[in-house]
């Protein structure tokens, strides 16, 4: 990506900035870069060290390791491919297997059936409407009955000697009752009543949506007997009369059933349960994350690589935005989890399971995505990164140049050897300068190109010369010579390239050096100071000790980046050395050889001479400059808060002041590096932090993806986090400590359950320590 921004690089060689491979065209380079380095690129450059980033790295490492394993097995498979066959795991994916749809058939059958039911239900509702259309309370019974009978013909009493539902014989005591909706007869026991409000509800709803309504199930109506029109018997008349429930409508169980189902349908249509609303919101948030996160990651990666394509503020805003969405997801899923928990009849276990699973998948989601959410550099870090990136690029170029020089030198030597061996004419005197050395076989630089080259530097001139040599050689048909010449030309071009960048390097390096020196001195001072303090107060508190350990631990770590500059130096010196050699070896005062020492000596030696004697200093210097990053690496935005302030403040009691001498630096570095960043962020990652761990912890013991359809194996992670929600943001340190304690408690619990006693021990130790810190801190603030 970067190489493409740098026109000098692209123009001449299409060299890959990472592996220095020379590619033929811009497009090839691009594709090469994407293929080869897109992965490592992030690792190399993404030097930001925050919790998230670190976690991601760990994950990456793991993935990569696994990936490597895979590749290994893959290559095994590939090897065997060369024997012939293919590992079944590598079989190319096939298309979806055969399918057959019965939907149209199904629909055909269903439609026939449905029509029947729709008609049935509609009929009932229309009748119900008629029955309730008049003012029942103020109409006399006889009239009501007349109306009722006009709605549906009543079944003849004589036709039904037994109740069709319960089978009891009708008699004077067991009277016949008519359903007002279908006209059938049943006994009193089997009779149902429809209240007016219920009827109204049904009729009004069907008025609204008669068209959309579907028919509920119903047992066939034929049971109700025939519907021949008839005159009501005395008994049935009296049955109406002796019950004065005029505000209710009698009907049979079947009609009532149908209507009840209809009511249920209406209810369902109108009612959306809370969980659905919450869930929809949750999904919206997830979609948003899916949308924004890649965008942010792109930005962060670019920024962390020291590029300036995006603005830091913008990325920061986006980060906050994304994190807010995460918070929202967390909150929503938590809410879903606890839905209806304190209702009196506790929800059905399946409902709870559903809620649990939604929560679980939300945490999985957050875990997966949030871990990928790398942090942004602070402003200072960003500046450094930019610088670093520049250096990196230049270092690479130097390496490249060195290689080129080396080969050139060798070529040169060979040539001079050749010259001394056969001095008489067969020599192709390359470095023989533009004009005078023209033997029988020598090539003349073309005058035209010479004219051009006069304005630029000697290297360019040389390049032009060689181009013209090549042309001549080609014309003469000396292919081997053409080849050597072309080789030469390429090297020259490379050389020119480097030369240009060299100047820039030198400048920036000088600057960096000065800065480093200053910083290193400061660091040294601080360290010495602090070392002294540490000696004094070693016994005072555990935390001082831990701190010191902490620091020492980091140191070897720091050495590694420190080593880089050394090799850097070494190669610079090497470069210098080789160029000296070449300049001595090559006697001919060609423009190039004259130029070489200049270009080389001007840069690295300056550095080498100055810095090599005090390389240790420089190293530490580098360390110092790298320090803030490492510090960041070890800690997280969340943890930043917990670690430094509480550790530094309360536990040092008497040494507070002297520590402050140390602290200012540390604080400065951290405050500058970490805090502005950590403060706004810390409330955000916290909840997730916890969440991340809980779900993992449980299912992982029975291997996570394992028991596929086992019930979520008593996945209690959720129970634990109820107490650790996103609480107030005020006293961050304490809050964080408390949360940390909570976390560890949860782990202990888990470990105990799984019987890992050693873990329990370590964790308990941890817990104790944390508690102590907390107590101290509280004491300190009080």
């Amino acid at each position: 990506m970067a190489s493409l921004d740098d026109p000098g690089e692209v123009r001449e060689g299409f060299l890959c900035p990472l592996c220095l491979k020379n590619l033929q065209s811009f497009y090839q380079l691009q594709s090469h870069y994407e293929e080869e380095h897109s992965g490592e690129d992030r690792d190399v450059k993404g030097q930001i060290k925050s919790l998230v980033q670190k976690a991601k790295k760990a994950k990456n490492r793991l993935l990569k390791r696994e990936g490597d394993d895979r590749v290994e097995s893959g290559t095994q498979g590939y090897e065997s491919f060369s024997y012939g066959g293919v590992d079944p795991y590598m079989w190319e994916p096939q298309e979806l297997g055969a399918v057959r749809s019965h939907l149209s058939d199904f629909k055909k059958h269903r439609a026939a059936r449905i029509d029947h039911y729709v008609v049935e239900v509609n009929k009932l509702i229309i009748r119900l409407e008629k029955l309730t259309a008049f003012d029942r309370t103020n109409t006399e019974s006889a009239k009501i009955r007349a109306i009722e009978k006009s709605v549906v013909p009543w079944v003849n009493d004589q036709d039904v000697p037994f109740c069709p539902d319960c089978g009891n014989k009708f008699s004077i005591r067991n009277r016949r009752h008519h359903c007002r909706l279908c006209g059938s007869i049943m006994c009193k026991k089997c009779m149902e009543l429809i209240s007016l409000p219920f009827a109204n509800k049904l009729t009004s709803a069907s008025k609204d949506s008669l068209s959309t309504h579907t028919s509920p199930s119903q047992s066939p109506n034929s049971v109700h007997g025939s519907r021949r029109g008839s005159i009501s018997s005395v008994s049935s008349v009296s049955s109406v009369l002796d019950e004065k429930d005029d505000d209710r409508i009698r009907c049979c169980t079947h009609c009532k059933d149908t209507l009840l189902k209809r009511e249920q349908q209406i209810d369902e249509k109108e009612h959306t349960p809370d969980i659905v609303k919450l869930y929809e919101k949750l999904r919206l948030c997830m979609e948003k994350v899916d949308q924004k996160a890649p965008e942010y990651i792109k930005m962060a990666a670019s920024l962390n690589a020291g590029e300036t394509t995006y603005s830091l503020e913008h990325a920061g805003d986006l980060r906050v935005e994304v994190q807010k969405v995460y918070e929202l997801i967390d909150a929503l899923s938590k809410k879903i989890l606890t839905l209806g928990l304190n209702q009196d009849p506790p929800p059905h276990p399946n409902t709870l399971r559903l809620q649990k699973m939604i929560r679980y998948s939300a945490t999985l989601f957050v875990q997966e995505k949030l871990l990928g959410l790398m942090s942004l550099p602070t402003r200072e870090q960003f500046e450094e990164l930019k610088k670093k990136r520049k250096q990196e690029m230049e270092r690479k170029r130097i390496l490249e140049r060195q290689a080129v020089l080396e080969s050139q030198r060798r070529l040169e030597e060979r040539r001079s050897d050749l010259a001394s061996h056969a001095a008489n004419g067969e020599v192709v005197s390359l470095r023989g300068g533009p004009a005078p050395l023209r033997k029988a076989e020598g090539w003349l630089p073309l005058s035209g190109s010479q004219g051009q080259s006069e304005d630029s530097d000697p290297l360019l001139q040389q390049i032009h010369n060689i181009t013209s040599f090549i042309r001549q050689a080609k014309a003469a048909g000396r292919t081997d010579e053409v080849r050597t010449l072309q080789e030469n030309l390429r090297q020259l071009q490379d050389e020119y390239d480097q030369q240009q960048t060299e100047k820039a390097i030198e400048l920036s390096r000088r600057q960096a050096e000065e800065e480093d020196l200053q910083r290193e001195q400061l660091q040294m001072l601080c360290e010495r100071e602090w070392e002294r303090e540490r000696e004094q107060f070693r016994a005072v508190s555990l935390h001082t000790r831990t701190r010191s350990l902490d620091f020492r631990e980091i140191r070897p770590f720091q050495l590694e980046p420190g080593r880089e500059p050394r090799t850097h130096l070494a190669c610079a010196l090497d470069l210098g050395f080789s160029s000296v050699q070449s300049s001595t070896a090559v006697e001919t005062p060609s423009p190039l050889s004259a130029l070489e020492p200049v270009s080389v000596w001007s840069g690295p030696p300056a550095l080498g001479q100055e810095s090599f004697p005090q390389s240790t200093v420089l190293q530490q210097n580098e360390l110092a400059s790298l320090n803030p990053f490492d510090e960041e690496d070890a800690s997280s935005p969340t943890a930043e808060g917990t670690s430094s302030p509480p550790a530094a403040e309360p536990s040092f009691g008497p040494s507070a002041r002297s520590l402050k001498e140390y602290n200012p630096f540390e604080e400065e570095e951290e405050a500058v590096a970490g805090n502005p960043f950590a403060n706004p962020d810390s409330p955000a990652p916290n909840p997730f932090d916890e969440e991340d761990e809980h779900p993992h912890q449980r299912p992982s013991s029975p291997p996570v993806p394992g028991n596929p359809f086992e019930e979520a194996t008593c996945t209690n992670p959720f129970e634990m986090d109820s107490d650790s929600g996103p609480e107030g943001e005020e006293p961050i340190e304490e809050e964080l400590l408390l949360q940390q304690i909570d976390n560890i408690k949860a782990y202990i619990f888990d470990a105990k359950q799984c019987g890992r006693l050693d873990e329990v021990e370590v964790l308990t130790e941890n817990l104790r320590e944390l508690k102590r810190t907390l107590a101290k801190q509280k004491g300190g603030t009080d």
């Binding site: 793991l62 066959g85 079944p88 939907l103 059958h109 059905h348 399946n350 291997p703 996570v704």
Partner: protein, 570 residues
């Protein structure tokens, strides 16, 4: 040809088609197994499938805010359950997928039950088999035959499974079967029948060389399932038993609660995927590496967490670490248990003799070794019985056969009646009389020279010298040399070219050793893809149950047992 992928694709398609929203997956007992082999819970959760229910479970709540995806076998019971479900729908909308061909009348009765119009989809998705590995499938049928003939229920299930496999891979094959087995012929005919009946389903793009379905019978090679295994997957199955990728470890002494049952799936367990075909020794060293890796990852623990930074790092890495520790502890436990069993049961020695019995023809030394082991108190009755079974199978017709003596030894050792009876049952099941081809003495010159050379060179690994008979069969098949008089084609047409896509099905169950053989054949033979299937995947124990279920021993009481028993008294 990847069967795992084929099933997974079906499931993904179902979920995809149901659109966004909370979903419940409604399955029956068998489809639950089918789905769980290809999808993990967390994977399926990501697709908004939050609940998994059995169609036959009574305790399901009405949840109208869920969409239901029904993946069911088209059995009578399932259709009935579904009809009930549709009459009183518990979910808002139903996507119904049957794992096999469903009759038109069933569709009609379902349609008539759907009075509330909740069904949005009715399809056949032919994921009707258990996809074990990309090249291995099973139907989880134990005891498919009664005597020499099919149990009719199992025959129809097997036919369904096999045709579903063909459909899911989109193969319309030519069929060859083992002539010596009546069951193989029967199955071949049934499959052919289905293909003819559902011809429009089987209309796929024609390939140059049509795929081949080869149907074999377990009784042609009863040796392979009787051997102890030393590659990881096969060994785990032999000693612990794999059931739908799950391993029951509850009998392991001192097992922790969360390791009672573990899942070994190559789909999401990298270590397992890389090691399932390696032998025990290699796994030992790999697991050591895994452990070391793991130890490196958890330095914080041993160092003691001294600083807050340490603790933070610990807490941060804890989930990661736990996850890894899950894998590590799983495999360490499994391998640990394997090696415990190996030493407890003296399996190295047992296996050596087993291999000698299976691969060499030196009767006297074999007999001597078997006798020696039968005296060894460490050898379990199970292993003792299987040694005698192997002996009985190999030297069935040997002139100086001393099976009766060995049977006496078994009795003296206190081996239970059940196992002693099984010896004759196994001979009855897979003895010379039944076999269509010769298991032990190679006939053609090439094979004889090969064996001779092998004898000269000595074997590299004495425990894995056995090659399943299937290897030879497939080798011949690939080279176009498989004899048509032993393995005839069903129908008039024959394959001119060498086959490319081969599906081998073993009635009576395949083994993991054969799966490994097929895996290696796939890897080493250019242009050939082979998928292996069986009514089940056997270990010795399940194989003996299969033999028992076939009921051969009881029938043999009257015939062969009678002849062998007086012999033992002699």
């Amino acid at each position: 040809m990847n069967v795992v992928f084929a099933v997974k694709q079906y499931i993904s398609k179902m979920i995809e088609d149901s659109g966004p929203g909370m979903k419940v997956l409604l399955m029956d007992k068998e489809t639950t197994g089918i789905v769980s082999m290809v999808y993990t819970q967390s994977e399926i959760l990501q697709k908004e499938v939050y609940l998994f229910e059995r169609i036959d479970s009574q305790n399901r709540e009405i949840m109208k805010h869920l969409k239901a995806i029904c993946f069911l076998r088209p059995t009578k019971e399932n259709v009935d359950y579904l009809i009930q479900e549709l009459r009183r729908p518990k979910y808002s909308i139903y996507f119904i997928y049957f794992s096999n061909v469903i009759s038109k009348s069933d569709v009609k009765s379902l349609a008539e039950a759907d009075e509330q119009e909740v069904v949005a989809e009715v399809q056949e998705f032919y994921g009707d088999y258990i996809a074990v590995n990309p090249h291995l499938f099973s139907l989880n049928i134990l005891g498919c035959c009664q005597g020499r003939n099919w149990d009719p229920v199992q025959l129809s299930r097997t036919t369904q499974g096999l045709t579903a496999l063909l459909l899911s891979l989109k193969k319309c094959p030519m069929i060859r079967y083992q002539l010596s087995s009546e069951a193989a012929k029967r199955l071949a005919e049934c499959v052919k029948q289905v293909i003819t009946k559902e011809y429009e389903l089987f209309e796929f793009r024609r390939t140059e060389v049509p795929p081949l379905l080869l149907i074999l019978d377990r009784c042609d090679d009863a040796i392979t399932p009787l051997l102890n295994q030393w590659t990881y997957q096969a060994m785990v199955h032999e000693l612990l038993g794999i059931n739908n990728n799950r391993i029951d470890l509850s009998r392991v002494p001192g097992i922790s609660k969360d390791l009672r049952e573990v899942v070994l799936s190559a789909e999401n367990d990298e270590f397992y995927a890389n090691n399932m075909y390696l032998n025990f020794a290699e796994i030992g060293s790999n697991i050591k590496n895994l452990m070391e890796d793991f130890q490196k990852k958890k330095p914080k623990e041993q160092q003691k967490l001294e600083s807050i930074a340490d603790m933070k790092a610990f807490v941060e890495n804890y989930p990661q670490f736990k996850k890894m520790s899950g894998t590590v502890s799983k495999h360490v436990t499994v391998v640990g248990e394997l090696s415990r069993l190996v030493s407890e049961r003296n399996l190295l020695e047992v296996s050596e003799v087993e291999q000698e019995l299976a691969c060499q023809n030196d009767h006297s030394s074999a007999l001597q070794n078997v006798k020696r082991l039968l005296q060894n108190p460490k050898v379990t009755e199970f292993d003792a019985a299987r040694l005698v079974m192997l002996y009985a199978l190999h030297y069935e017709r040997h002139s100086s056969n001393s099976l009766p003596g060995l049977m006496m030894d078994l009795r003296n050792k206190g081996v239970s009646e059940k196992y002693r009876k099984l010896v004759s049952a196994v001979v009855e099941y897979g003895g010379k009389r039944v076999r269509g081809s010769d298991l032990f003495s190679p006939k053609d010159a090439v094979a004889i020279t090969k064996q001779f050379l092998k004898g000269l060179k000595g074997v590299e690994n004495v425990y894995t010298q056995h090659q399943p008979f299937l290897h030879e069969t497939l080798d011949h098949l690939i080279k176009g040399k498989l004899k048509e008089n032993l393995y005839p084609y069903l129908g008039p047409s024959t394959l001119r070219d060498r086959p490319q896509d081969i599906i081998v099905f073993i009635i009576g169950g395949a083994t993991y050793e054969e799966a490994l053989t097929v895996y290696n054949l796939n890897r080493t033979t250019p242009g050939v893809r082979i998928v292996l299937g069986g009514t089940t995947v056997h270990n010795t124990k399940s194989f003996l149950e299969e033999v028992l279920a076939s009921g051969l021993h009881s029938r043999s009481k009257e015939s062969s047992q009678v002849t062998s028993k007086p012999a033992s008294r002699r």
